[in-house]
């Protein structure tokens, strides 16, 4: 059996070193082509007419004037009359025209009548006792679920478990069939048990989503010497990908579709488009060279993606491009759910944490959402947790880097820091004291806390709360810890060594800007002992071997593992061809520095080119897979630890927070490319400063719309907001042998909590919610002053 394991440290030529991003020259010169840059022959420009109301029923649609406008090639109704719209900005009608201006003009000619319905967009703390438990579904509930794109299987299961509140008749089934309810759902409604609900049934926006007790629960608070009590949380934010969501669809044959799409999921898109378009997935080809950001929001073709295909069909199959406008991108194409909590933490005098009690809430849009994983990292023995999910018309939630973890960190790490403050303990010591609760990563965190403290100068700089003030400027330090899974997604890789020495690799993967292209090539080049530029890599097409979507920090595990296995098999096949010429057994050969040579005898060697000339007429081909139990070992691992520290200064007169320094210490197992790994951490710290201080999806309770759907008022951190950043990757013994673990999520989890803790340390007052905007800082100071006066 071939040895697929990662090479030993001394045998690595490229793995773990700093390799320059292979697509950087294309990106800095403007040559890199994104979906938004792609022009197809005869391409039409699409525009979507969107509902201006946060909740409404569509009463009538009149597209006749738009259809008559010169230059309009097709009009397609996306949501039919009778549908319920669940958020402002939802799609109703699509238009394809010869250029964008005509499409805009046509959109203004579409007349849609809505019956406005009451909306709800507030994620403020639920009133005491509010909240329905899960129950049977009404006709509206089912319609809401379908409008909200709840997966069919989930809806069917829910109907099976909870039943319905109404007796469906033939008219109902005829109607929903017309509305396009999927047949399996209709069948599930038919079979669902009827439950009579008195008083019209509960239709609260508040849903009790979790009630969990562990150990003694909140009772254990009574045994604590000290109980801290506070309010914490993180507001809803958006993804704000610079390249908005969108695609170009064209029918190359009556039943064959070619799609360019900005997506994190090249291999996974055909399957998702096949069902609504009623063609086999094999007839759909998806292509993408570069993507301008995804961050978790681009896994699905989305209704507007399917609409490009539908409207292209009506326009004789001509390519139709629909890219979302910036306001729409911010309103509907990505939201990180909010999460807030009232937390009590109980500890002994020596700092040992004994109990956790939390009442949390938050919204993930119409679906409500779940409880973030609190208490985070520290598995406290006694816990009592209640969570209320709030169903709102804020727009649909999407996975945002490390789903639920930044919120969990903001709640947990801030509550623990408050407890440390109440104990008058240095939080680093408090965390160290309780590291046994952070199993199985106790030792990783211990080492990281030490390194981070040194890099920050924590011991020299840290002072108890509110004690470090010069004039109106308060200084503070804060910390946070995080974890994430990893492993590798399913990945298939085709590998070819040609007789001329060139190497080709094909995977249906994508490079989100994380450096996936470079990492695949590093693994291949290291395995074959050749330079990067001898390798041609093809990714970003669904006709290539299937590789998973880029989410959950699983890409590097998946592609590095499938590439390594394929490369080892191809290399060993080459050894077999070359061995006779060097008069040794194939297992006596090694591929090093552009040569195939006899182990321990570098005088007996062939250059890569000469070696490949022994291949014969047909190239060597191999196929690698992840996971692949038939080819051990598992090259990936899971479960990283990271520690971050922030230093801030706060102007107590203006409430403006400035981050002065951040330190990130991160473990991610074996690093493939140190340069892009560090960039991931720098980027995460910067994105973290952005959501800690500036970003918030602000909803207007009156109109139900987002108030800041632009880049002026939905503020991203700029270069001037970025302080000294220190990134330290845990490498070498104890880390490398764990295998490859992804890095997209972990470092973005802690910045918000670390910065919030630094602000609390500076001010001596907790500012409860992220982002820490000047108004929130001043309000917290004011409230504290009042408390002091009372």
């Amino acid at each position: 059996m071939a040895d697929y394991g990662w090479p030993k440290a001394e045998d690595r030529s490229l793995i773990g070193k700093r390799t320059t991003r292979v697509d950087a020259p294309a990106k800095v010169s403007g040559q890199a082509k994104y979906t938004y840059d792609t022009h197809r022959p005869g391409m039409l420009y699409g525009k979507i007419v969107r509902c201006p109301y946060a909740k409404a029923k569509i009463v009538s649609i009149d597209t006749s004037a738009a259809e008559k406008l010169a230059g309009v090639k097709a009009v397609h109704v996306i949501q039919k009359v009778g549908s319920t719209v669940q958020w402002a900005g939802d799609e109703v009608v699509a238009i394809a025209a010869v250029d964008e201006r005509v499409a805009d003009d046509a959109a203004r000619l579409v007349k849609i009548q809505y019956q406005k319905m009451p909306h709800f967009v507030s994620d403020a703390e639920p009133p005491k006792g509010a909240g329905d438990t899960a129950g049977p579904m009404s006709e509206d509930d089912i319609d809401d679920a379908i409008s909200n794109q709840m997966p069919d299987q989930q809806l069917i299961e829910y109907l099976g478990t909870h039943g319905v509140t109404f007796k469906a008749d033939a008219d109902y089934f005829k109607q929903v069939k017309e509305w396009g309810y999927p047949d399996p759902v209709i069948e599930a409604i038919r079979k669902a048990q009827f439950h009579e609900v008195k008083g019209g049934g509960g239709h609260s926006n508040y849903q009790r989503a979790a009630a969990i007790t562990q150990g003694e629960g909140a009772k254990a608070l009574a045994t604590a010497d000290v109980v801290s009590d506070g309010l914490y949380g993180a507001s809803a934010i958006t993804h704000c990908c610079l390249e908005s969501h969108g695609s170009i669809s064209e029918w190359t044959e009556p039943d064959k579709l070619f799609v360019h799409m900005s997506t994190q999921n090249v291999s996974g898109i055909p399957g998702q488009m096949a069902e609504p378009l009623k063609i086999p997935a094999a007839n759909i080809r998806v292509h993408q060279d570069h993507i301008g950001g995804g961050f978790g929001s681009k896994f699905s073709p989305d209704r507007w993606g399917v609409a490009t295909a539908e409207i292209s069909k009506k326009a004789d199959g001509k390519p139709v491009r629909i890219m979302l406008e910036r306001d729409t991108e911010l309103e509907i194409a990505g939201m990180r759910p909010s999460a807030f909590a009232r937390v009590k933490v109980g500890a002994k005098k020596d700092g040992t944490i004994v109990a956790w009690q939390s009442d949390s809430w938050g919204t993930g849009g119409p679906g409500g959402g779940g409880m973030p994983p609190i208490p985070y990292v520290f598995n406290i023995a006694n816990q009592e947790k209640n969570h209320t999910a709030i169903k709102t018309n804020q727009g649909p939630a999407r996975a945002w880097r490390a789903p639920s973890h930044p919120q969990a960190a903001a709640i947990t790490m801030c509550a623990l820091e408050d407890c440390a403050a109440k104990l008058e303990m240095d939080p680093v010591e408090f965390f160290l004291k309780n590291l046994d609760l952070a199993k199985p990563r106790t030792e990783i965190y211990r080492e990281e806390l030490g390194i981070a403290s040194d890099l920050m100068g924590w011991k020299q700089k840290w002072q108890p709360r509110g004690k470090n003030r010069s004039g109106n400027i308060a200084h503070g330090l804060g910390l946070s810890m995080h974890t994430w899974g990893g492993r590798g997604h399913n990945s298939d890789c085709d590998f070819t060594i040609n007789p001329d020495g060139s190497v080709e690799i094909k995977l249906g993967s994508q490079d989100l800007g994380t450096g996936t292209r470079t990492s695949i090539m590093v693994v291949a080049a290291d395995t074959l002992g050749i330079p990067l530029d001898q390798i041609k890599l093809f990714i970003g097409d669904s006709t290539y071997p299937v590789s998973g979507g880029s989410g959950g920090s699983t890409t590097i595990g998946g592609v590095s593992s499938s590439t390594r296995r394929a490369a080892v098999d191809a290399r060993d096949a080459l050894f077999a061809k070359v061995a006779p010429a060097l008069n040794v057994q194939p297992d006596q050969l090694e591929a090093v520095s552009g040569n195939i040579r006899v182990k321990g005898d570098s005088s007996r060697s062939l250059s890569w080119k000469d070696a490949c000339s022994k291949i014969g007429a047909m190239p060597i081909t191999s196929h690698g897979k992840n996971p692949d139990r038939a080819k051990p070992p598992d090259l990936t691992n899971s479960g990283v630890g990271g520690v971050q520290m922030a230093e801030v200064q706060v102007d107590v007169d203006t409430g403006i927070v400035q981050v002065k320094k951040m330190v990130a210490v991160q473990d991610c197992g074996l690093i493939i490319n140190l340069k892009t790994a560090e960039s991931q951490c720098y980027g995460a710290l910067i994105m973290g400063i952005s959501y800690a201080l500036f970003e918030e999806k602000i909803m207007d309770p009156v109109t139900g719309r987002m108030l800041n759907p632009n880049m002026q008022f939905y503020r991203l951190a700029g270069l001037n907001d970025i302080p000294e950043l220190v990134v330290h990757m845990m490498t070498g013994k104890g880390y490398d042998e764990r295998g490859v673990i992804g890095l997209g999520e972990p470092p973005v989890i802690s910045p918000g909590a670390a910065i919030a803790n630094a602000v609390a340390n500076a001010l001596g007052v907790r500012v409860p919610f992220l982002p820490l905007t000047p108004d929130r800082v001043l309000a917290a100071l004011q409230q504290n002053a009042k408390k002091g006066a009372a």
Binding site: P25, G513, G718
Partner: protein, 212 residues
């Protein structure tokens, strides 16, 4: 950082026949329109009465000098320079992100000054040589700032990168060794989402040290 109106010679200043409406002319037209309230007829008719040239609303011939080459097209006067570059001439280095002068992804150079291509009409940009990121790489050779971006991993998804490269080049042309404050000022008009500022900062430092 901003297009200084007086510095930008508008086509109408030297060639009334072929060119578009300058911002100054536009102000004149709208001023007069406002001064004659409640007169029937479209503003364009009013403008015609003043003797100012009137273009549109249909397509009109336009001519541009982009990266040293001449480009001609029939465009509506409402088309922005950015849309003309991207959709008409398929010069797509300048990106469309906010489309309202907030993010800098569409930054181009007009007379050496940075301009948001989304915030200027194509018709206004005729006859002034326009440089996009594509022209910064001269004869297949990367500009030092581009090389520095590569060396310091200053791009991730890369969508903001062309705008940053153009802004950095303009800054370094004007101020070869910028101070921290000057960098702050010159770079305040571009935004990145992936968080490449650390690399950009190092790239600027690399070029400022070595000289462009």
């Amino acid at each position: 950082m901003h297009d200084d109106e007086d510095d930008l010679k508008h086509p109408s200043d030297n060639n009334q026949e072929r060119s578009g409406v300058s911002r100054r002319d536009f102000l004149k037209i709208s001023g007069i329109a406002a001064a004659v309230p409640a007169v029937a007829g479209a503003p364009t008719d009013l403008a015609a009465q003043t003797g100012a040239p009137v273009y549109g609303p249909g397509k009109v011939p336009m001519e541009f000098t982009i990266n040293g080459k001449t480009y001609k097209a029939q465009l509506e006067p409402r088309v922005t320079l950015l849309d003309a570059l991207r959709d008409e001439f398929e010069i797509t280095g300048a990106k469309r992100v906010c489309d309202r002068g907030e993010c800098g992804a569409c930054t181009v150079l007009i007379k050496g000054k940075t301009v948001y291509a989304c915030s200027i009409l194509a018709i206004e940009a005729q006859q002034t040589p326009i440089m996009t990121v594509e022209s910064i790489m001269a004869e297949g050779k990367l500009h030092p700032i581009q090389q520095a971006f590569i060396d310091n991993d200053a791009s991730q998804c890369g969508f903001c990168t062309p705008g940053f490269v153009v802004s950095c080049k303009a800054m370094l042309d004007a101020v070869p060794s910028p101070s921290a404050d000057q960098i702050r000022q010159h770079m305040s008009g571009n935004l990145c989402r992936c968080g490449t500022y650390e690399g950009i900062r190092k790239a600027i430092a690399q070029v400022a040290q070595k000289g462009a």
